[in-house]
């Protein structure tokens, strides 16, 4: 859930995004404060946020939502993060996938599991609970949504409250994935460090 700030050395982009980064400092006072708060915390303003900031109000609303759903989630982070990187992977959201990998790792998703994720059904790296989460993430991207069996399996491992949170988090990552892809937001070069997410 690291969509706004991250801790790295300076980014080098491959290609620019499809629309320009907001010019800095931003004209909008609330946005300018947000940028400086992120930097004061020792983080960097993400490329995604620098693009989104072209619409200050929407950028701030998105940022608040990203932080809030992360803070409100009661689902054990390992499952949530596994679900999110799977969702990003299926949706082709390279930017959000890259951004979430360090969080997934620090929350207990192993490198071997990450490597096995594209073919998780035939892999032995995932237990029943993991598989329930992954099947649900996959099914959410189908036009009809998850079938009854998939849903009930998930519900056998999580409370309705947790299911609600997993569902919203997956849906939110779909939004981020589609947005990042459409805008061609460049992945920051030095993203894959342990410092990125500040842990689990």
């Amino acid at each position: 859930m690291v969509l706004l700030g991250y801790a790295t050395v300076p980014a080098q982009r491959q290609d620019g995004p499809r629309i320009p980064y907001v010019s800095e400092p931003p004209d909008d006072p609330a946005l300018a404060k947000n940028f400086s708060d992120i930097r004061a915390a020792g983080l960097r303003v993400s490329n995604m946020f620098r693009v989104t900031a072209n619409s200050p109000q929407m950028g701030l609303a998105m940022g608040a939502f990203a932080r809030s759903i992360a803070a409100a989630a009661k689902v054990p982070r390992k499952y949530l993060e596994m679900s999110l990187i799977r969702t990003a992977q299926i949706e082709g959201g390279q930017y959000v996938y890259a951004h979430n990998l360090p969080a997934a790792k620090s929350c207990g998703v192993s490198q071997a599991q990450i490597d096995a994720l594209p073919h998780w059904r035939s892999s032995k790296m995932f237990d029943e609970k993991d598989r329930a989460v992954l099947a649900y993430a996959d099914a959410m991207t189908h036009n009809a949504g998850p079938d009854e069996g998939t849903f009930q399996t998930l519900l056998s491992f999580f409370t309705p409250q947790e299911v609600l949170q997993i569902t919203m988090a997956n849906a939110f990552y779909t939004m981020e994935a589609r947005y990042g892809t459409a805008m061609r937001i460049p992945i920051e070069k030095e993203l894959d460090t342990e410092k990125v997410t500040g842990g689990c």
Partner: protein
């Protein structure tokens, strides 16, 4: 005292809805909370009941996780009021996205707002085959092609993006793209949880407007 304002309008149907008594086609996959204990959600319910005589099913679903319900309220308030671009164009895009996503709940809730913004019934009927239709102008076609492109794993291609850019400023493209994403989100969410449509929603009196940035209905939850 902190105030939360809910403006009822197109984007706000992201999660909430205006409705009359519900009759569910399919049962919701998580319980619809009828008597919330959480103070914030209880206040939210009271306001909806007083004002509309009904709790929107999305709100009744979110009430299972009170902290989450508030997050979603805040998002729809802030995000819903954030767009500055032409509302009719945005609504057309929302209809198309929810249609493509199979997000029936979101689609149905967006219809009255789209109509309130001047999208005609014949355009709505033609939307599934908009490419062959003569009912959409070049700007609308650019928006529809972009919405369709966002459904592809690779995203909209360069030609589609370039055409879009010829009609809109960067800030508008951000708004459009994020809004499309938000309605993909709401479609996936309501589909997965089988959030039931209310039998009746969005009467003209409640959703007949098009101005969301100037809220024409405001609810204070706290």
């Amino acid at each position: 005292m902190r105030r939360t304002i809910l403006s009822i309008g197109s984007l706000l149907f992201l999660i909430g809805a205006v409705c009359l008594p519900a009759q569910k086609q399919e049962p919701s996959r998580v319980p619809l909370v009828s008597d919330p204990q959480d103070p914030y959600v209880a206040k939210e319910y009271k306001v909806y009941r007083e004002r509309f005589g009904q709790i929107p099913t999305t709100v009744a679903v979110a009430a299972n996780a009170p902290a989450f319900a508030k997050v979603m309220d805040d998002f729809r308030n802030e995000f819903g009021a954030a767009a500055r671009m032409d509302r009719a164009i945005l609504e057309l895009s929302i209809l198309r996205i929810t249609q493509l996503e199979g997000g029936e709940y979101s689609y149905v809730h967006s219809l009255p707002v789209a109509k309130g913004c001047g999208i005609t019934q014949t355009q709505i009927d033609a939307l599934p085959r908009w490419r062959e239709s003569a009912l959409f102008n070049a700007k609308q076609r650019a928006v529809l092609a972009y919405a369709d492109g966002m459904m592809e794993k690779a995203g909209p291609d360069d030609a589609t993006f370039k055409t879009l850019s010829s009609f809109f400023q960067p800030s508008e493209i951000v708004e459009l793209t994020l809004t499309n994403g938000a309605f993909a989100m709401s479609s996936l969410y309501t589909k997965a949880l089988r959030v039931p449509l209310e039998k009746s929603w969005g009467t003209g009196a409640l959703t007949g407007g098009c101005e969301v940035s100037v809220p024409y209905h405001q609810i204070q939850f706290e």
